[in-house]
């Protein structure tokens, strides 16, 4: 068996409940390393293929940690040969992990998605089609670049509006801009637990100046987007 990691919590917090099961049904337990407890379960050795069920199971465990405090969530798919191997890896980064954990205590992540509702975010037509002339082909390339540029501009403007609206309520912000493959942008905010309702209220009054976008907000999440040490 291998040791699968879900999240890290201060050792002062309650350990996982006995009834908590994780990826592939393994019971979740805590392994202590200095001032931290690591929530883990046993999984079969070998590559752990991602699936919706496993992703949900991973998040359920992290979410349980979120009920006890603010966990530092681990990315999906990290399994170690043994508890000892995991502990050795964590010990080698113990100071920076503890600092990052302390930084996010008492906070949660809220995520705002920016979705285009206009042609700027539309999926481009296939570039090449049978019988298409060279001129048409070049015209399609130009059109694709135009709509892409327009969408990036819209997403950046929407980001600025959202950031401004919640500025006084967030400790940190992370922005994942749109890619050509997925024309969705995401803004993640680190927010104090006590400010969640106020944060949602501030978002509901964001003015986007008629931009063809829809915003969605989800959370609270464990601080997935703020789990790496600063500067990494």
């Amino acid at each position: 068996m291998a040791t699968y990691l879900y999240c890290l919590l201060p050792v002062s917090h309650e350990p996982p409940p006995a009834a908590l099961h994780g990826v592939d049904g393994g019971p979740v337990r805590a392994v202590n390393v200095g001032a931290m407890q690591l929530w883990v379960s046993d999984v079969e050795r070998g590559a752990l293929a991602p699936s919706i069920e496993r992703a949900r199971a991973h998040d359920q465990v992290v979410r349980c940690g979120l009920e006890r405090g603010t966990p530092l969530p681990a990315r999906f798919g990290q399994a170690f040969d043994s508890d000892a191997a995991l502990v050795a890896r964590v010990r080698s980064r113990e100071a920076e992990l503890r600092r990052t954990m302390e930084r996010v205590q008492g906070m949660v992540e809220m995520t705002v998605r920016i979705l285009s509702t206009g042609e700027a975010g539309a999926t481009a037509a296939p570039l090449r089609q049978p019988g298409m002339s060279g001129r048409e082909y070049l015209s399609r390339i130009a059109e694709r670049e135009r709509t892409w540029g327009a969408w990036v501009e819209i997403a950046e403007r929407a980001r600025a509006c959202v950031s401004e609206a919640v500025r006084s309520l967030v400790e940190a912000e992370a922005f994942a801009g749109p890619t050509r493959r997925a024309r969705v942008a995401a803004i993640s905010h680190l927010v104090h637990r006590g400010n969640i309702a106020q944060y949602r209220g501030a978002l509901s009054s964001v003015g986007l100046g008629g931009a063809a976008v829809m915003l969605t907000v989800s959370g609270p999440w464990a601080p997935y987007s703020f789990a790496e040490p600063l500067g990494v």
Partner: protein, 84 residues
């Protein structure tokens, strides 16, 4: 058909897309060799494509069924994953 089931479905898909993006794409990396390659993982593309197609469907429905209704600049407050 009422709007409610469609809206619930859209919300479920958006929440799933966010869940996949958080769990598979973010979080602290302790080991140097995470089992999955994050940058190009198919599952994320699947999640986002579900999400995008849902938005497009929503837009088509609005254009066809409720002329004059303006959705630009909407903020949809989704339930947290696991919330009823």
């Amino acid at each position: 058909m009422t709007d409610q089931p469609h809206d619930d479905e859209l919300e479920d898909e958006l929440v799933l897309g966010d869940l996949l993006n958080h769990v598979l794409n973010k979080g602290v990396v302790i080991t140097g060799d995470v089992t999955i390659s994050i940058a190009d993982i198919d599952l994320i593309r699947v999640g986002l494509s579900v999400l995008l197609s849902s938005v497009e469907t929503e837009e088509r429905k609005l254009r066809a069924g409720t002329p004059g209704e303006e959705r630009n600049g909407d903020v949809s407050v989704l339930p947290a994953p696991g919330e009823p």
